[in-house]
Structures are given as structure tokens and as C-alpha cells.
């Protein structure tokens, strides 16, 4: 134990008990910003905030809330002492907070705009309630450069059925073609979203579902999507160790299976795969990482699903508005853009990215070749809201367990999921 005498301990604990009281008495309080980022991401964001302080002279205190950001904002709202700005990991939260009238609109529209798909999620009428600060590209299949030879020549523009056929062939040779972190429900929702956008009529259903119309769950594109997933997932030997093992595999472990232990060839997930992979594969950098677009279905171009973090203003003040404007300028994030693993929601000069992977991904986000759709599961409300053992995450994990077990025919499994979706969405008041 630390050599603290009893009297010291008493004094310290008294000080700890008094801290909140003292803090609330302090007059010139700094702006308080909270976000989920920790570790190196928090360091990078701190640089952005430091630049703001250097520019405007307002002090900023950053609180890293991890996954508890919702709880943090709620409990502080309750005591009427919210942080000035919260950076939310999903627009679903922004919706909920706006419904509570917790958010303040921006006084002046931001100088930059990431595009209509993004703006639609942050504005209501002519009021703007949020500023996008970070983007995630979620439509990628990753592999090691050495494995390029085993992929079909047309892989860079392949269709879903070509992927299924290739995976079946590869699995038959005894090499599992895919790694999947099915223990993390969001991995499965990302699969579902991408494939839904690739099937005929899926784009419209996708946006209808995101808008909160739950009747759209009972539609042919949703059924087609589930059938497509079942077709791929039920291939024998498609995942290392089988489906049951995949359900105990988290996304990071699946990345390791492709890039370090090499027990699988491909992994589908977002741009963040690169940062996990570079920590674990031999080269120790981004060299050797290759990626393909998610296969297209009946539609012409491959799907593009993005996620993002959005800053909202919980306490209106002049410095707070200034900081929001600062966060809306892509230039402000240049210190972070230099590091790998950060994509700006805004089209920026590609020289600002130092990582070639980020540069290419950013180009894909902003080229306009593919229609961009914001992550569906992040926009769902009510009983389908995801979480470990909850909502759409749970439903898709149960589906995954069914189709990989081999005991349930794909069509039966799809029917069962459709029934479950109907039951849950009917519950909603």
C-alpha cells in the first residue's frame, strides 16, 4: 500500500468530498467537452482543443466518457450542469436529446458542409443542432497483400453471388475464407446494412427504416438481405473454427485471424480495422493492408455505409458557439488528420492525410460515385436499438447462430427472424 498515514488519508478524503463543491463555486469555468475517445484518440483531440484555446483564449476541459457518454450527459442534465459540448457516437442520441429539448441550435450556419446525407441528420427545419467531426467508412473487405493471389481477378468490382461462390470454393479447400467478429453485434448489423443497400429496392427500404417507419421491416428487400447473409454464413467452413466459435470471437480477434495468425483471408468491417491490424501484423505499419469494396448486388455501384461522431451544444454561450464553429472547420482537425485512423466528414485537401489508406478512403467518401448512407443501426430507436444482448444486435446474432449451426434451413431461419422483427416492432407504442 501507499505510505499514507491515517491523518493524510483523512485530509485527502475530505478534500475529495469537497471537490465538487469547490468546483461548482469556481467562477471562470472552462468549457467542458466530453466524448467517448480515450488513449491516442483523446490525445489527438486534445491537440484540436489546444489550438482552439490558443486561438480564442478560452480554456477547454476534456472528459473522456468511454461508452458511458449517454449516462454522463443524462446525469449532468438532471443536475442542470451539463457539459458545454458533447460529441455523440450516434445520431440516434442526437435525436433523443433534441426531443428532450436539451440541444441548442447554432447561431450561424457552419462554414463547411459534409453533404446532404449528413446534414439531414443534424438539422430540423432551418435550425442546425449538430456538427460532424469524424467519419467512419464501413463498407470494406480487408486482406493481406500476400493473399491477393487467391482472390478472383474481378474482386475489386465483384457481386454478392461472386463473393458467395468464391467463399464456397475456398472453404472447400479447407481454408476458411472469412473472419467475423460475431460476438460484437454491431459487426452483424454492418453486414446487414451493406447487403440491404445492394439488393433491389434496398436503398429506399433502408432510408424508410432509418426514418422510423417500422412497417418496412416486413418487406421483400429485408427478406432478400437475410437470405443473402444466410447463404454466405451457412457455407460449411467459411469461418475459422465454425459459426459457434465465431459467435465468441470479437472484432479485434477476427482482425488478428486475418492479419496475424492468418487463419482467414478476408474480414469485412470499417476503416478502423487498419489501426488494429497495424498493431498486430509483422510489418507493424499499414503496408501489407489491402482492401476491397463491399460487393455490389443487383444495383450498379457498391454500397457505402458511413458512421460518424457529431458534436452538440448542451449549454448555449458565446465561447461554446465559437468552439462549435471551430469543430465544424476541417482545418481544425489537421493535427488528427496526420495520424492514421481518422477520416474527416468533409472533403479536404488529400495532402492533409499522411496515411495512404486514409487518403483513398476519404476520396471514396467524397467522390460522389456511390450514394452515401448513414449507419442504420445508429439511427434506430425503440426496442431495436442495439447493445450487447439487445435490439437488432441480438436478433442478428440469434440469426447467425441459427444459420451457422446447420440444423435450421436458411429459409426457415429467415422466416423466424422476420417473425421476431414483426413481434418486436409491433410492441412499439
Amino acid at each position: 500500500m501507499t505510505p499514507i498515514t491515517r491523518r493524510d488519508a483523512l485530509r485527502l478524503s475530505a478534500a475529495a468530498a469537497l471537490t465538487p463543491i469547490l468546483v461548482s463555486c469556481a467562477s471562470s469555468a472552462p468549457l467542458v467537452v466530453t466524448a467517448a475517445w480515450s488513449g491516442s484518440e483523446a490525445d489527438a483531440f486534445q491537440q484540436v482543443l489546444d489550438d482552439f484555446t490558443a486561438h480564442y483564449g478560452h480554456r477547454v476541459e476534456y472528459i473522456s466518457a468511454g461508452e458511458r457518454i449517454d449516462a454522463l450527459v443524462r446525469s449532468r442534465m438532471r443536475a442542470n450542469r451539463p457539459p458545454d459540448i458533447a460529441i455523440l457516437p450516434s445520431p440516434g442520441l442526437l435525436d433523443r436529446y433534441r426531443a428532450h429539448n436539451w440541444l441548442h441550435p447554432l447561431h450561424t450556419p457552419p462554414s463547411h458542409s459534409p453533404g446532404d446525407a449528413w446534414n439531414a441528420l443534424t438539422s430540423r427545419g432551418d435550425q442546425i443542432f449538430g456538427v460532424w467531426v469524424k467519419a467512419t467508412h464501413k463498407s470494406l473487405l480487408w486482406y493481406r497483400s500476400e493473399r491477393a493471389a487467391i482472390l478472383p481477378a474481378q474482386a475489386s468490382s465483384w457481386r454478392w453471388d461472386e463473393l458467395v461462390a468464391w467463399a464456397a470454393d475456398r472453404a472447400r479447400t479447407g481454408h476458411p475464407p472469412l473472419a467475423i467478429g460475431a460476438a460484437d453485434g454491431w459487426v452483424l448489423t454492418d453486414w446487414f446494412e451493406n447487403l440491404l443497400l445492394s439488393v433491389e429496392g434496398g436503398g429506399e427500404v433502408y432510408e424508410t427504416l432509418a426514418a422510423g417507419d417500422t412497417t418496412a421491416w416486413d418487406s421483400s428487400p429485408v427478406q432478400q438481405t437475410l437470405l443473402g447473409l444466410a447463404e454466405l454464413w451457412s457455407i460449411e467452413g467459411v469461418f475459422p473454427g465454425g459459426g459457434r466459435r465465431a459467435l465468441l470471437t470479437q472484432n479485434d480477434e477476427a482482425v488478428i485471424q486475418v492479419f496475424a495468425t492468418q487463419t482467414a483471408d478476408l474480414i469485412f468491417e470499417g476503416d478502423f480495422v487498419a489501426s488494429v491490424a497495424s498493431a498486430f501484423h509483422r510489418e507493424g505499419a499499414e503496408d501489407g493492408l489491402r482492401f476491397l469494396p463491399f460487393p455490389r448486388g443487383d444495383v450498379a455501384s457498391p454500397p457505402l455505409v458511413v458512421g460518424g461522431d457529431v458534436a452538440v451544444l448542451l449549454r448555449d454561450s458565446e465561447p461554446g458557439q465559437q468552439l462549435m464553429s471551430w469543430l465544424a472547420r476541417p482545418e481544425s482537425f489537421r493535427p488528427w488528420l496526420r495520424r492514421p485512423g481518422f477520416l474527416s466528414p468533409y472533403p479536404v485537401n488529400s495532402d492533409w492525410y499522411e496515411s495512404p489508406i486514409s487518403r483513398t478512403l476519404a476520396q471514396q467518401l467524397h467522390s460522389g460515385e456511390r450514394r452515401l448512407h448513414f449507419d442504420l443501426s445508429d439511427r434506430l430507436r425503440g426496442p431495436l436499438t442495439g447493445g450487447d444482448g439487445a435490439g437488432l444486435w441480438r436478433i442478428l446474432q440469434d440469426f447467425f447462430a441459427m444459420v451457422t449451426s446447420g440444423d435450421v434451413a436458411p429459409r426457415q431461419a429467415v422466416d423466424q427472424v422476420m417473425r421476431e422483427l414483426a413481434r418486436i416492432t409491433a410492441e412499439e407504442p
Binding site: G241, E253, A279, P383, G389, Q397, E427
Partner: protein
């Protein structure tokens, strides 16, 4: 005054029957003539009572009201019907019932078996330490240790590694937990962390942590049984089972009931163990009410979570009533024993002849119990990247500690201050209340015990939202103050109960002093009551410190990032388990040290308090 309490009795002179009576017949001590009703009763009790009413009573009432309403509209039982028709809720109810009944049963039986087998065995002190230590560990650390144990990959998971050769033989497949069973059953059951066995896996973790405490309690109880009685039974040809049936069962029944209740209260609240141990895909199969109420707070309408909470609360209260009925015995005569009769160093075993078979058994028990901790320490001694790639066969290194220390220093220090502050406040508030309840008010009020017991078993998740509202009105939500206050009101009931029981115990020698000091409450308090209760105060304070140190629930519900205690930090490290195992294990090891140090430092007081408690049962 009772005859048995006659101070002339020396330990040698106590007839065996009286010593048996300690177990079977010790109710509340006679208090007539010693109570000192005081006008200041209310002054002593008000601060504590106010806190309990404001922060536990009000929120509970609010939860009950919420459960009948939807957006402020009275809807009767509709919320309850809606909640009970949810299949997820039914899974949570089923599992919680399992945890509340089966787990304490296992803990009690195993505790008895361990107490009987280890009470006269070689290596006593080591065995006691190794078996009892897990109760002090944070459940987050236990969860990490068992997740490592049950990891489905033989390179990381010891259970899978041991099962691998067997599953080759039986052809049960590489990911079956129990390959020695018929292939189809083994295959059907699947891996330890899979949907069918996850609850079993979690239960083994809980039992591992709790069996030692049960063993300790039973060992004390066994010590109070005079050896003569067992000898008679054996002379009449009774086997071990016969001794259990004819001697132990009747005499230890009450101790077993108390242990069962204690384990049931803890097991039905299991929370972070499941969060850490169960991969996301099986969280729904391992779901418990404690988790489901927490999850459903911000998902559905508040009425649903409240209705579920009220159901849970009612089940818990029913449990308390059952317990009171089982333990209540109107025929019991209060008996007082001279405190010199307390067996000395009872937690050490009797010395007997060393036999090879017994040594082997003891060593096997030791090794078996050490496995989870050994795995945790071994995993923490690897570079995190190497660990993720090669499991525990990677070369040893301190890199995990190097990486995790900068992250943990802040949380470790803050948790230390938090736990220390809560400990002092709780003792400062509970001691006056306990003193007032035992000495200043009117004797024989059953309600104070009932209220304290109810407050003790109240699950915090049930009142989390209304409690935040109260804290919000006090302008404390999201501050360190909110976390401290919540811990304080949760700690007061148990501390008050421990201290009340210690103040109430009046050994004959002290009674003489007390009669002498009849006119001065203060002198009686300072010269007799407090010194006598010292071990109980130390034990209660240690318990409180460990409780707060190991907490995850309160921080998860009420902390708004000013404290971020150690449990939360480690939970975050273990989030992506495969890549975070090294640092999470290192964090778990570091977080386990302070509670262990506290328990070892206060060991004597804790043991004395447990002994005193068992004698009063």
C-alpha cells in the same frame, strides 16, 4: 439474568450442553434493566434516518408510482403485463431465480464439505488463505480470470487446452466444453462461453469466490460443537454422512440458513461478472434482472423498467420474509456465554497426525483453487500484443503493466480516496444510529431490524432513475458527491446491522460495569461499549472499503466521469477481450491488491466479528 451468564463460569467449567446451546439457542441477549431510554434518541438517529428516507425510501416510492403510470397517466397493471409478456424478461427472471436458489445452495453445501474436510488437515493456514481470499477480489477481476479460463481457444483458455486431447479421442469437436460426455451431448452443450453453458460458467466463478467464506463460517460453527458429541455418534457407528445427519444438520441448520440468505442476496445481484465474462452474443442468454433493468432504463418507457424493478423488489422482500420465518424460533431462550468461552484461533485447524492421503487431498485442493488467479497473473505477465497472438505461451514480460500503469494511476488513487471517504462517512453515520438503536431507544422494536434488512437487500438498479432525480434536485447529479452519497446510503444498512449486533452483545463482565455506570451514558459508551465493539467497527470499515473499491454498479449508474473508479477502467480495458486481455489482466491484478491487503490487515477483527456473528445466529 440468565444463569448461564454467571461470570463464575470458566471455559473449562462450561458444560458441553451449554456450548451447544450457543449455536442453537442464542437469541437477543436479555436487556431488561440495561436500556437507557434517552431523550436524545432522535438526535442520534436523525442524520442516518434522513439519508435513508431521502435517498432510498423516496426513490423506492417513486419507482412504485412510476410502475403504475405511463407519461404521468395512471395505467394500473398495464406496465407489469407488458413487461411479463417480453420473452427477454422471462429469460432474466428464470436466470435470476436460478442464481437466487441454486447458487446459494451450492455455496452452502460446498462450504460445509470444505469445512469438514479441511478442519483437520495438513497445511491449514495456507488452505484458509487461498480459499477465503477470492471473496475480497473485485468481481471484475474474477470475471476476467474465468474468461481466460474458459476462452474457447486452447492457446488462451486452460479449460479448452485440457479438453482438446479428450475431444480428439471422442470426436466431439474442438469447441466442446465437456468432451468426455457422449459426443452428441457434448456437442449440444458446446463451449463454456457458448449460449448453453454460459450461466454454468458464471456460476462456477461465483462459487469459486464465495465457497471460502462459507467454509470459514462453517468451520467456526463446527468448532462450537463439542467433540464429545461427534465422538459419541462415531462410537455408535455413524459414518461421515451419519454424523452430518444426526449431529451437524440439527446443530448447523441456522448457520446454513443465514449463509444461504447471504449468498442468495449476493448472487441474485450478480452484475459485472456477466458483463465481463459473457461475450456479446450470449449476453441475452446470461441475462439477469440486475442487467435487464439497467439496460431497459433508456430503451423503453420508464414505466416498464420501474415495473420490472418493483417485481424484483417484491421477490427480494418475499425472500427476506421467508428468511425471517425460517430463522424465527419463539421457543429459543436467550443465552449468554462468557466471552472467554470463545474458541481461540478457531480458524486454524486442529493439529492432527499428518497422513499422506490427506496431504495429497490438500495439495490438490490448493492447486485447484489457485488456477484462476494463476492464469490471471500469468496472462498479465506478457506483452499485450504477444499475448493476443500466442496466448499464455508467449515469452514473459512486464509490458502489460508498463502499458496499463499510466492509465490506472489516476483511477487507483481516486478509487482509494473514494473508498476511504465512504468508509469514514458510513462508519461515522452508522455508529451513532447503531448505538441509539441498541442503547437509547425502547428495547424490542422489531421494525428497525426489518427496515435495515429491507434497505440492505434493495437492489440499486431498481431506484437508480428516481435516485438520480433526487440527486439532481440536490444539484449533485454527475458529481463526485453523488457517487459518495450513493455509496454511503448503500453502506449504512449493513454497517449499522454489524455495529448494532456488536453493541448489543454484552458479555457478563461488561454488564457489571454497565450497571455500575448506570448514570452516565457517555462514560458507559466510551469505556465499555466502544472498546468492546472495536473489532466489529474495524471489520465493518474494512468491508465498506472493499465494497466501494470493488464496485462497478454504482459507478456505472451514477459516476459522471469525475471519479472513473478502477472497476470501470478495467471494464473498459476488457471490452475487446482478445486484444485487451494482457492489460486487462494486469489491471485486474493491480486492482485486486488493495482489497486483499485490507482484508489481511484486518483479518483478526474480521474473523472475530464473523465468530461473534455465528455465535449469535
Amino acid at each position: 439474568m440468565s444463569d448461564v451468564a454467571d461470570s463464575d463460569h470458566t471455559p473449562q467449567a462450561t458444560p458441553p450442553t451449554a456450548r451447544v446451546a450457543v449455536l442453537d439457542n442464542a437469541g437477543a441477549p436479555p436487556t431488561a434493566g440495561l436500556w437507557r431510554p434517552s431523550r436524545h434518541f432522535l438526535a442520534w438517529i436523525t442524520p442516518t434516518a434522513t439519508l435513508l428516507v431521502l435517498l432510498l425510501g423516496l426513490p423506492t416510492a417513486r419507482t412504485v408510482i412510476l410502475s403504475w403510470t405511463d407519461n404521468g397517466r395512471f395505467v394500473g397493471l398495464e406496465n407489469y403485463i407488458r413487461v411479463l409478456s417480453d420473452p427477454q424478461v422471462r429469460v432474466a427472471l428464470r436466470n435470476t431465480l436460478l442464481w437466487a436458489v441454486v447458487v446459494p445452495l451450492i455455496v452452502t453445501c460446498l462450504g460445509y464439505a470444505l469445512a469438514v474436510t479441511t478442519r483437520a488437515r495438513w497445511g491449514g493456514r495456507v488452505i484458509t488463505t487461498v480459499l477465503v481470499a477470492p471473496i475480497a477480489l473485485p468481481m471484475v477481476a474474477v470475471g476476467i480470470a474465468f474468461r481466460l479460463l474458459y476462452h474457447p481457444d486452447p492457446a488462451y483458455g486452460l479449460a479448452a487446452w485440457l479438453a482438446a486431447p479428450l475431444s480428439h479421442l471422442t470426436g466431439a469437436g474442438p469447441d466442446t466444453a465437456l468432451p468426455m460426455l457422449w459426443p452428441w451431448l457434448g456437442r449440444w452443450l458446446g463451449p463454456w462461453l457458448g449460449p448453453r453453458l454460459i450461466t454454468v460458467a458464471a456460476i462456477t466463478a461465483f462459487v469459486w469466490a464465495w465457497a471460502g467464506l462459507a467454509m470459514l463460517v462453517f468451520r467456526y460453527a463446527l468448532h462450537t460443537i463439542p467433540p464429545e458429541i461427534e465422538d459419541v455418534a462415531r462410537a455408535e457407528g455413524a459414518t461421515a454422512l451419519g454424523v452430518l445427519r444426526t449431529v451437524h444438520f440439527p446443530l448447523l441448520r441456522r448457520v446454513a440458513i443465514v449463509l444461504f440468505a447471504l449468498a442468495a442476496a449476493a448472487a441474485s445481484r450478480t452484475f459485472e461478472l456477466i458483463l465481463v465474462l459473457a461475450p456479446g452474443s450470449v449476453q441475452d442468454e446470461a441475462e439477469l434482472l440486475s442487467l435487464h433493468v439497467w439496460r431497459s432504463y433508456h430503451q423503453g418507457p420508464p414505466g416498464h423498467a420501474a415495473a420490472l424493478g418493483v417485481l424484483w423488489l417484491m421477490a427480494v422482500l418475499a425472500g427476506v420474509l421467508l428468511f425471517r420465518r425460517a430463522i424465527h424460533d419463539p421457543t429459543r431462550q436467550p443465552v449468554l456465554l462468557p466471552d472467554t468461552d470463545q474458541p481461540q484461533n478457531w480458524w486454524r485447524q486442529r493439529r492432527t497426525r499428518v497422513r499422506v492421503r490427506r496431504v495429497i487431498l490438500s495439495v490438490a485442493l490448493l492447486v485447484f483453487w489457485c488456477i484462476p488467479v494463476a492464469l490471471l497473473v500469468l496472462t498479465s505477465l506478457h506483452n499485450p500484443v504477444e499475448q493476443a497472438l500466442h496466448g499464455w505461451r508467449a515469452p514473459l514480460s512486464l509490458d502489460s503493466y508498463r502499458e496499463v500503469l499510466p492509465v490506472l494511476t489516476g483511477p487507483l488513487l481516486r478509487t482509494f480516496l473514494l473508498a476511504g471517504a465512504v468508509m469514514l462517512i458510513v462508519v461515522a453515520l452508522s455508529a451513532p444510529a447503531a448505538y441509539a438503536l441498541t442503547w437509547l431507544g425502547r428495547p424490542s422494536r422489531p421494525w428497525d431490524l426489518a427496515v435495515l434488512l429491507c434497505a440492505l437487500v434493495l437492489p440499486i438498479q431498481v431506484i437508480a432513475d428516481p435516485l438520480s432525480e433526487v440527486l439532481g434536485v440536490l444539484r449533485l447529479s454527475g458529481t463526485t458527491g453523488a457517487v459518495i452519497l450513493t455509496h454511503v446510503v448503500l453502506g449504512i444498512p449493513v454497517t449499522t446491522l454489524i455495529l448494532r449486533s456488536a453493541f448489543e452483545a454484552r458479555p457478563p463482565a461488561h454488564q457489571v460495569d454497565l450497571v455500575r455506570l448506570r448514570d452516565s451514558n457517555w462514560r458507559a459508551l466510551l469505556t465499555v461499549v466502544v472498546p468492546h465493539a472495536r473489532p466489529a467497527v474495524i471489520a465493518a470499515a474494512a468491508l465498506q472499503f472493499v465494497q466501494v473499491w470493488n464496485d462497478v454498479v454504482v459507478s456505472l449508474l451514477f459516476d459522471a466521469s469525475q471519479v472513473t473508479p478502477i472497476g470501470i477502467t478495467i471494464l473498459g480495458e476488457a471490452r475487446q477481450f482478445s486484444t485487451g486481455a494482457g492489460t486487462a489482466a494486469a489491471g485486474a491484478v493491480l486492482a485486486s491488491l488493495p482489497p486483499l491487503v485490507v482484508v489481511i490487515t484486518c483479518w483478526r477483527s474480521i474473523v472475530e466479528t464473523i465468530g461473534a456473528g455465528v455465535r449469535r445466529i
